[in-house]
Point group: none
Chain length 212, copies 4
DNA sequence: CATGAATGAGTGTTCATTCAT
DNA sequence: GATGAATGAACACTCATTCAT
């Protein structure tokens, strides 16, 4: 059993090595311009080794997305359950994603280039992924809850609002990762900024009074 | 003169044939998976013919984007000058873009996949394009004006707001083109919807009183 | 008749135009790198026009060589008959060739690259040419006569001596055309130089006494 | 160590296979008409295999020339140092080259077609080669020494004499390889023949008395 | 299991040649 | 006859995938 364990552990280690290398190269060059040799070389393995762990190039790519998305989901779900407030949940969601993407810029790049807009299918190598669907539905569920709690207008389809939510998020994060120095407290600030725009829009208001 | 005219017209016709075919295939398969033979075949020409009108694959692709963007810009500028009101200008901008993209779904697909988020640079074959820059700046200028007129908060960078504006737009249009039947009056309705979300956000408000 | 004459003359004029352009381009780029469009363009004709005067690329190339060789032969034969002395004939031959090649550097280039050594057949597009054979035989005849008159050793095959003769010539002319400014009196001097080396070699002799 | 050795040896073997095939095809068809598929086919490899050993077609071609020239130089230098006499050195040089070219007719063909006359530059893919320069300079040095020792007239530029020397050599070898059956003792005889013509020319002399 | 050399189908691009105008 | 746009075969080179060691 110990032997099997080590085998499994070794196998996992190699897979992780390769995925890490793939992440970097795919982010740098995009799917088509990336070669398996690039990845194998970066991971310090032989070309053929990659095929011991992944069926083909596409499988490697999708596995990469799945693994990372899964990790992102775990991170999000972990904290988000601790709050009951809808707005707070959205806030936590944003903060966790921001943290995650700051630590995984390459993955962010890939994800952005992969999801050319939400649920869009040009070359959507990812679309069949259960994790991706789970991720999408998780955001939709957040929105739905916020609608039920009165935080978000309920005259709109949750899925569409979720799309808009994520597209604003994407836009702001791209700007942040590209043009700003990333500082420790950023996650919180940016999260508030996005939520503000998402909930209140960018229109100029002098005063807003909630009557209810 | 008549002869030259006909020649030029013929030349233009062929170029347009090829561009039309290219638009379709590029939208369907993406840049890398598209072959010149695909395009030539679709346009009913021989492979070599494409090279009589375009230097190489990249030139064909960029020409396609430029031509379309130019047409889009013309369409937008035409009407937008007729209004003085900032909000109305944004509204016209949206309506015109919506109309254009409904008539040019393939181009929309390409544009979306090309601009993986605003000012993002993986494989930005388009980034050097003057027309694209002009387009970007035009949107920024719209936002800036709206800030000066008090329609949009002026505590934000115009370029960033423009990014957010376009990313909301993209998100909504993708949803519309993919999932809804496109009906005549849509442009107006969708434009209002986007503007509403953009300016007021999706937060639930019971009443808003502007004091000033 | 006059009409036919003009037609023929026109035809000849066009052929000459094309040949002149071809000469320049072939010399510049070599056979394979030269395109028919290059030549047509340089001659200010359309691509197809070339095919009205020459069957194909190879025909154009061979015609070019033939025409020029014919002209060279005419020039050589013209003067060479006026002398009876074998050495003088060789001298005239050299002078005339030198003059011709100074005025036809492009042709010289082509000829050199074509006849990679005498009677060698890698890609010898020329080898079937009657004129080329006539040219070769003419040189051989010169040598043969010089052998009979006692100017050249007669223990050697005339054709081989002719080869050596031409290869020395080629070597010296290449050097002259490439590295020296070409001056009026050169033909005579160079001719003497070549003949000297050809007949006497480059060995150092302190004194030579001819007894007979 | 043994493994690496075998790997290196295998690699060398393949390279040699390909070079051998390339040598044959290039000699047969010339650079431009030769395709990589030709070479790969002849060497019994797939097209792509060639690119494992050579960067591109030009690299293959140049490597071929370099390898062979290097081998030729080694062969020449080996024996030539053993003599002090200038004329003997020239003799050895010729003999060794003749032997080499008899064993490497294809290479000879390529070299001849590549060096369209000495220091001529149309398509000189070889000209940048250090080995080629070394080879040229080696011949010039031989001539220079022969001038100093009084074997060759010293009123001429060594480089030019070297050119003439090589062009006579080329002419004679072409004739020999093309038209004569190559017999064992040939190298010696031909070498003497070339030297004779080179030093004494082909003029008829009844008696030559050296006075000094 | 790991390797990396070998494979060969596939792509962008060129250009000799043809032919409708 | 002259044109030059159109053709499509051909070629250099790449790279995902396989498999003998």
């Amino acid at each position: 059993m110990g032997v099997l364990d080590r085998k499994n552990r070794d196998r996992l280690l190699r897979k992780t090595d390769i995925l890490k290398a793939a992440e970097h190269i795919f982010a740098l060059k995009g799917y088509d311009k990336t070669t398996i040799q690039d990845i194998a070389g970066k991971a310090q393995y032989a070309t053929g080794t990659v095929y011991l762990y992944f069926k083909d190039k596409n499988d490697l790519y999708c596995s990469l997305l799945e693994e990372k998305l899964k990790a992102l989901l775990v991170k999000i779900k972990e904290k988000i359950g601790q709050s009951e407030d809808a707005k707070e949940k959205l806030d936590i969601f944003l903060e966790k994603e921001i943290e995650f993407f700051r630590e995984n810029k390459d993955f962010f790049r890939i994800l952005v280039s992969e999801t050319n807009g939400p649920r869009f299918d040009i070359g959507l190598r990812i679309s069949k992924s259960c994790v991706f669907r789970e991720y999408s539905e998780h955001v939709s569920a957040l929105v739905k809850m916020a609608q039920q709690k009165g935080t978000i207008r309920n005259d709109l389809y949750p899925a569409q609002i979720a799309d808009i939510f994520r597209s604003i998020f994407k836009s702001v994060i791209i700007d942040w990762l590209r043009n700003k120095p990333q500082k420790p407290g950023d996650a919180e600030k940016i999260s508030r900024f996005i939520l503000d725009i998402f909930l209140n829009g960018v229109g100029r208001k002098t005063k807003v009074i909630s009557i209810v």
